[in-house]
Symmetry: C2
Subunit: 361 residues, 2 copies
Amino acid sequence: MTDGLQEFDALAADKRIDDGANYQWRVAARPVGNVVPTDFEWAVTDIPEPGAGEVLLKTHYLGLAPVMRFYMQGTGAAGERVLEPGDVIHGRGVAQVVKSRHPDWREGEMVQGQMGWQTYKVSKMTDQEKFWRMPPNDLPAALGSGVLGMTGLSAHAGLFACGDPRPDDIMVLSGAAGGVGSMVSQMAANVVGCEVIGMAGGAEKCAFIKEHGCSNAIDYKSENIPDRLDALCPDGMDLYFDNVGGETLEACLERLRLHSRVVLCGSISEYTRDEPFRLSNYTRLRATETRMQGFFVYNHVDRWDAVMEDLAGWIHDGKLEPVQDIEQGFQNMPRALANLYYGRNVGVQCCSVRGEPEEWN
Amino acid sequence: MTDGLQEFDALAADKRIDDGANYQWRVAARPVGNVVPTDFEWAVTDIPEPGAGEVLLKTHYLGLAPVMRFYMQGTGAAGERVLEPGDVIHGRGVAQVVKSRHPDWREGEMVQGQMGWQTYKVSKMTDQEKFWRMPPNDLPAALGSGVLGMTGLSAHAGLFACGDPRPDDIMVLSGAAGGVGSMVSQMAANVVGCEVIGMAGGAEKCAFIKEHGCSNAIDYKSENIPDRLDALCPDGMDLYFDNVGGETLEACLERLRLHSRVVLCGSISEYTRDEPFRLSNYTRLRATETRMQGFFVYNHVDRWDAVMEDLAGWIHDGKLEPVQDIEQGFQNMPRALANLYYGRNVGVQCCSVRGEPEEWN
């Protein structure tokens, strides 16, 4: 391997966790460009004791999202504290209440919320921390760190609240093999009835997305995106769900139909540029009366229960196959994050903190 | 005067029209940058005779819009024929049926539609030409070339169909003294109940817009737009109605509130750049869940009657003062168009083809 990820394997090689301490990953340095191993600091502290009104939580799964690089850079932490070097990295996950001195929470309960990159946490379980009980849906707890977590809420909010998808829409979707993308493609095709053209990198991912909602795939690593779009949707698209930004967004803006919609979910292709990307053709929104809308998942948490009921229902109905890409072991959290920027993950990137056997994926 | 407009006065100086011929302005050369007198060709032809099923129309007023420079360049002519050098320039206006061999139109009727820059036209009055009878609203016919013409439809569609304005919204509006802007500001303030912050160039225009719906004005020629926005709406805006694009759009995208809206109406500051403007901060739409939407007025013509009824009603109610800036005489059409790019007009730029005395403005 010559892609930089092997350095993350070396970072993890001498590290293991156990139940005798609290293990943490902290910000060592603010990332410049892509994350590198020296951006992360491994720390071992005592397991904290819960005080009155507090619980002790034990982490089982943590979810990874592209935004975490921004957290480490001290930006993008809407609703969370801005991180400084030395701080535990933000991250939501699935945990169990192992001690409780809080009247509303009992030992053994499974929860999901803001754990941070650590194996234990003491919490007052305030609203601000956004902890929720895992819903009783007979689905694996691991899904709470991804498909039934913030990634699922993002996919649902982006597609339904922003994208206003309609049956028979031609939807183009970038990042189709990723966490949000693999959910959006299935929901658009199987719940709404859209024709989905997905973009992904490499033959393997393109085969994957064609089994998960996409009727056609564009391999952005080996194919010319504008040419392929012209071939696959010669009359343009009704909906573009953007996970990548950059020139791909520009190519789609050139191929919009009347009253189309553009959902701005992410722009991962822009995150490691030195200069901000500058969009040359936003005025294309005019002639086609296109609505381009961004969304921020934390603005949608008040709809959490209803969204999770939708998602669990579609999983049970076979309309949404939950796909999580699970790194085994807390020591591999930095690599799990790097996977996102290297385009390595298929489905939602998560980490099984304690490396349990995993039925899903 | 040293601003280039005096050359247009020289262009007009030796030209006059009468009822003995059809006078025309044609494309002489495709404009490069701003329009210049040598882009226009004066032509005199015979008054055409209507055949069976046709009418002869006599032009009284013509409206001017920034898009006309694009028509002359051979672009932007959605719904109209692409212009080549030698063609009569596209333009809508108010005319009278002076001969009719068409069963549905009688002599003396006033109409508005695609006349082109000429003093007579023979028409089959097909749907494609988009001719309408002037509505019976007891308002001056001149308004049909602007406030009650395509400019009015643009202002209405942009504000209501795209902007979704709400009472107490803080709306920022660029180009507030212009044709669309002077209508949008009054409708937003007086019909909807928004607080409108307008931008215009120069003290005189700023005084004007404060008498036409704007509670505050920013003079973009002498003031720093970001600083003034920070002072006038420190918590940001709910709605930005964009007539200018460029850095002004960027400054507003930095100052959006949650669930705000951006209406892309025009980008006149970008039209004469050599390179397309490249928007550096479109990703600001994400954190605030802002909806940025363009519109194209020709997509709204099916709502013509209802929109005109709204506008005429608001004029009668005193909520909308119609402001038209009327050049006198067909020979001044090139100058009337140049006024737009030089920021000279206040209100909707029109031309009284026959230079009649004009009660309005």
